[in-house]
């Protein structure tokens, strides 16, 4: 069964058509990379998979189920986000925001959400577990404002992992991180990919070609690419290449 199955997806923002007739299958344990120009609709695609945006046309199935408006199956690491870096909060409290009570059914959720300033032991355990997965357990009780950009991004990944997702969606997770930090985040994703399907938006083509097994290019419409063929092309190409060059190589319309 496909982890994600998108058929004839069309999305609008008000009058503006942002995605048109997208068809995409993501198999279980795929490592899919999404590339494309700014404003091409990459974030919009992730948001429609998450159910934040209701598509105008088409269907999105997550493990065969439609309209899955829950983060239980899907972990999400948003783009940059307008998070206030000075916000007084500890790492573990951020990660716990990703926790989903798996035993809570609809309706039961609201019951235990109110009147709890203090976190429950199983929530803390869950958060510590995800922090360990991203190698940040030593920072659990530090203020998030004291971390570096790369460390903060790991915390965001830990928050997404806190609900034990089967799919992880990441929107430009390394956009403000140096080359070394970027590589170590991708190493982490590679490790997570052993049991989680990964979908990542990125402009770092060279890294993507190394880690992803599928690449799609989105600029309103979608062009699918067979990875193996491209890797061969790139290795033949050698040396440096910019995104535009690669776009041409992959045959995407610019």
């Amino acid at each position: 069964m496909d982890a994600i199955n998108i058929k004839n997806l069309t999305c609008f923002y008000d009058e503006q058509k942002v995605l048109e007739d997208i068809n995409l299958d993501v198999k279980e344990r795929d490592f899919l990379a999404i590339i494309g120009p700014n404003g091409g609709g990459k974030s919009t695609l992730l948001k429609s998979i998450l159910g934040i945006i209701t598509p105008k046309k088409g269907s999105i199935k997550i493990f065969g189920k439609e309209n899955l408006k829950s983060l239980e199956m899907i972990g999400y690491v948003p783009q940059n986000t307008n998070i206030n870096i000075d916000f007084p909060i500890r790492v573990i409290d951020v990660v716990m925001m990703g926790h989903v009570d798996t035993c809570a059914h609809e309706g039961a959720v609201s019951k235990n959400r109110f009147f709890n300033i203090f976190s429950k032991p199983h929530e803390i355990q869950c958060a510590l577990g995800s922090l360990k997965e991203v190698g940040m357990e030593a920072y659990a009780y530090k203020k998030i404002a004291t971390l570096s950009g790369g460390q903060r991004q790991r915390v965001m990944i830990a928050r997404a992992l806190c609900s034990n997702p089967k799919i992880l969606l990441l929107d430009e997770p390394t956009s403000n991180i140096d080359a070394e930090g970027q590589r170590s985040i991708y190493e982490l994703l590679k490790k997570l990919n052993e049991h989680i399907t990964i979908v990542v938006i990125s402009h770092d083509i060279s890294v993507i070609l190394e880690y992803a097994n599928k690449v799609v290019h989105i600029n309103k419409r979608l062009v699918f690419h067979d990875m193996q063929k491209n890797i061969n092309k790139v290795t033949k190409h050698e040396g440096h290449f910019c995104e535009v060059e690669l776009m041409q190589m992959l045959g995407g319309q610019k």
């Binding site: 998450l50 934040i52 983060l71 999400y76 948003p78 986000t81 998070i83 206030n84 000075d86 916000f87 007084p88 909060i89 500890r90 409290d93 951020v94 925001m97 989903v100 959720v109 959400r113 109110f114 009147f115 709890n116 300033i117 203020k143 928050r159």
Partner: protein, 273 residues
């Protein structure tokens, strides 16, 4: 000198009222600052002047009239900000100035009423009555209960509203809710420092607390504590030197904040060498 002041009923009332206002503004000021709503809160404060004018004209208790009017203003502000991402400051500025104009015009039209405008602009903490204190206590109780009851959601929305929305938190509702709570604490704070200085009370203690806190709850607690401290010291200075209480309180807070910022600059400067 302090003992002498404490002997007066009006001064005791002022201390109690000052404490109630400080707790409310510490809690809500924290939410306002982390949600970057300072400009909106300023708007609500000035708009509430319309409520004061209307209340005086129609003979409703002023405190109560101002509460209703600023609640309405906060809902309007929330509606505007949620629905108009562009031209936001134009709309807010409009609500802000129309609110104030309504207040001034209705006070003009009130026959034979020589209202002391200054007391609303600069506060009138030394004229707080027993009823005022009961009313403030009720407002504070509402604020505290709401914040405790919805703490997790308020935290989630304040930290990362997009993610909170994903987790099923109704972000628009809580955005409006925070502004409504702000309206309540602003009405209380107008009594203490007047509407012109409300924003100072809702931000100065918070800027101090945000650096020293590792959670939103701790920030609320520390802000309230600083605010109480500034209020008490300010009240004694204003009594001793016969100064306007509200302005004195704000100056005490501002001096402490400035000293703190200078200390911080110097210490990081030496640490980084």
């Amino acid at each position: 000198m302090i003992v002498e002041a404490l002997g007066y009923g009006f001064f005791q009332n002022a201390l109690i009222a000052g404490m109630l206002v400080s707790i409310a503004s510490g809690i809500i000021g924290s939410l306002i600052v982390v949600n970057r709503m300072v400009f909106l809160a300023g708007g609500i404060a000035h708009t509430s002047y319309g409520g004061i004018g209307l209340a005086i004209y129609f003979g409703i208790p002023v405190f109560f009239g101002a509460t209703l009017f600023s609640l309405a203003a906060s809902i309007l502000m929330a509606y505007i900000t949620i629905n108009n991402r562009e031209k936001l400051d134009i709309y807010i500025g409009l609500v802000w100035s129309v609110g104030m104009a309504i207040g001034i015009l209705f006070i003009d039209m009130t026959p034979g009423y020589n209202v002391d405008l200054m007391s609303y602009l600069f506060g009138s903490i030394l004229a707080v009555s027993q009823e005022d204190i009961y009313y403030m206590s009720a407002l504070l109780a509402i604020i505290v209960l709401c914040v405790i009851f919805f703490y997790k959601d308020l935290l989630a929305v304040s930290y990362d509203s997009e993610y909170a929305a994903l987790r099923g938190v109704n972000v628009k509702f809580f955005y409006t809710f925070i502004l409504m709570l702000s309206a309540l604490s602003i009405v209380m704070a107008i009594k203490l420092v007047g509407l012109i200085l409300v924003i100072a009370l809702l931000t100065i203690p918070i800027y101090l607390a945000i650096k020293l806190s590792s959670s939103l709850a701790m920030m609320m607690f520390l802000s309230s504590l600083f605010s109480i401290l500034f209020t008490f010291v300010g009240l004694f200075f204003s009594y001793k030197f016969d100064l306007t209480a509200g302005a004195t309180i704000i100056m005490v807070g501002a001096c402490v904040l400035i000293m703190f910022l200078i200390y911080e600059k110097i210490s990081t400067h030496y640490l980084n060498r």
